[in-house]
Amino acid sequence: MNRIHRRAIKLAAICGTAGAIAIGSAAAGTSGSESGSTASATERGSQFDVSKAGNVTLTVWWLGNQEVPGIEGWMKQTIAKYHALHPNVTVKTVVQSTDTWTTTQKTACKGRTGPDIWYNWAGTWSLEQVWAGCTVPNESVLSPADLAHVKNIDETRWGGKSWVYPLYRFIYPVVYNKSLFQKAHLNPNKPPANWQQFIAACKKLKAAGITPIALGLKDGFGGEILGSATFQKQLFSSYRNLVQLVVNGNFTSPLWKSWITRAAQLKPYVNNDVNSIAFGDGLSRFEVGMAAMVFGTPGVQATIAQMVKAGKKVSVMKPPVFGGGSYANSLVNTGNGFQVTSWSKNQSTAGSFLAYMHTPERLTALYAQTGNFPADDRWNPKQAKRPTDRLMLGWLAQKRVYYPANYYPTDLDVNGNFVVFQGLLGGKMTVDKAAQTYQSVITKWRKLHAAELQNYKKWAG
């Protein structure tokens, strides 16, 4: 945490010009908002006097239940309560499709028209919109007090500012079926902790006629989630090094290959049709007991809850450790939430609404209605009673490790992770070829994105 804060301070110093631009644009955005007055730092977010704004309609574009089952009901309730507090503000939500989400955002941004607030994932996903000039920093619409409680804002810190206001956290454990572990004579209460133990457990499960891991790679996301949250994070002790790798590193280095070698070892232990089913299909197979383990995904808590309700015995483990980085033995989390758009005429009110979503009562309701962990320390984790939730919250409290795929370009994800995992686990791709694939993608990317590369350099510090 401190490291990230220090980095942010250093970045702010280095990126004076960029910071000035950001502040300038933020100020411009705020001054053109509701009342025409510039909100001071103490008048933003929860501190903003919404009654000054006049009659305002806020439009929110988001992904609703597609991202977090049950959250649409929570949002409806939140809007109603906010409207009761501030009758001059009406909030309208539009659920967009996940598949076309970035496309929709880019189209809206290009036309400088669209919502006041939109949902976004952390890291690169948000920053690509920032660099395209689509959104304003949190600091221009939220008060320092609003930001202090949300540690995950560090995940999307660039140019001395934070750029997405996370509402909840996605976490990425390995979920396992205790009954199937028992059937394979594995101790269900002592899951594998390191890579050797994990592979040994897979062998035993397979020998017992059980598919060790259910996985779908057709839509590519499985490659991203598995590669990022289980393997790549283990190489690092700071993601500044990962960003530096993007800037001028070598993806065919022994270090990068070390995780690919492990990933390739999974091939005999995943279902044989990984490339013809989607990630969600793999999850469904695990849910009905067709496999012993699944690599966790957003919404994993809801999956566990459903399985427990259906009488299945499931638990969670941290991804098995093999790496030497200090992030190796950790549970990855990423905070996803909202950004205020740069063209919104209601930025201060938008900030107020974002802050309202983070009131303790709303955070408690969020966990109760969705099972997802709120990304705000005003939420009391004691609310979590399920043993798996308590386990995961304990791991999250030990070390705050974010999602590596949020620190490199989308191109490296789509043409790197997606392609490599399809090749390694569903095809005949070698480790060397996989490493070359990453290198080839990043070489092309560097060639094409000179301006973006500069932004990454600033990010790396």
Binding site: G133, K218, G220, N275
Partner: protein, 292 residues
Amino acid sequence: MKSSRLVPWLYTLPLFALVGAVFAYPLAQLVRYSLENVGGSPYLPTTFAGTSNFRYIASDSLFQTAIKNNLKLFLCVPVLVAVSVLLAALIFDRPRGWKVYRTVIFLPYVLSIPVVGVVWGYMFRLNGVVNSGFRSFGLGFAAQDWLGSTSWALPTIMFVIIWKELGFGVILCVARLTSVDEQLFEAARVDGARWWRVFRHITVPQLAPTLLFYAIVELITMLSWVFAYVYVMTLGGPQNSTVVTEYYIYEAVFQNNTIGVGAAAGVILLAIVSVFIGLRFWITRTASLAFE
């Protein structure tokens, strides 16, 4: 006198403006983007790129794969033409239930591509209906990972495209055959020609302009109307083995944020399609002159 000559142009001005707004402006923008590194913010400024986007795609192995895949899709066209003419000839003979056959063959054409893609996508899974069928008939050796292997994914998409597009060709051919003078067929039969001979010497020649038209339309389809199949069935995978030019453009613009590269690929695609469109107009014109 001079002003009266201008009047017709004045009347047509709104139409020119409309056409300009609808077609010319987007085309001009496309060309402009293809010559730029498109950014549009202080953090990502737009700069003039010259021909570098074109040079980049010329050397990009993914774009080459995309073009090759489009060319492979061209193989669907002779199959479509051959099967269409054959089925049309059979239906034109009006066997019992021919109206039902005609409807059944045409039905896939009116279904939306996402629906078709999703349904076939499920059927072609490694453990899907198609392979289960093979296995239950003792033909397990024929079961393949149709959409999950790099060698089978594109041929499988081609099969689905043929299945869907066939109806259009059959209906075109049947429609044309109904306008052919029945006496031609009668005379041939009276002279003792059997089905195959009638088909070869009367049906096919009479259908020639229609088949040419159909072939050109389908070639254009294989170049610039296959995105939905790829998007729904494989998302360009596995391992980018089914990426086509349209998908490449989509990925460049919306996933990788390289609008200039996508636009350059778009310009090239447009140029190729324009040749085929020109060819189509030429064929239509030649055919109509021949009929006159």
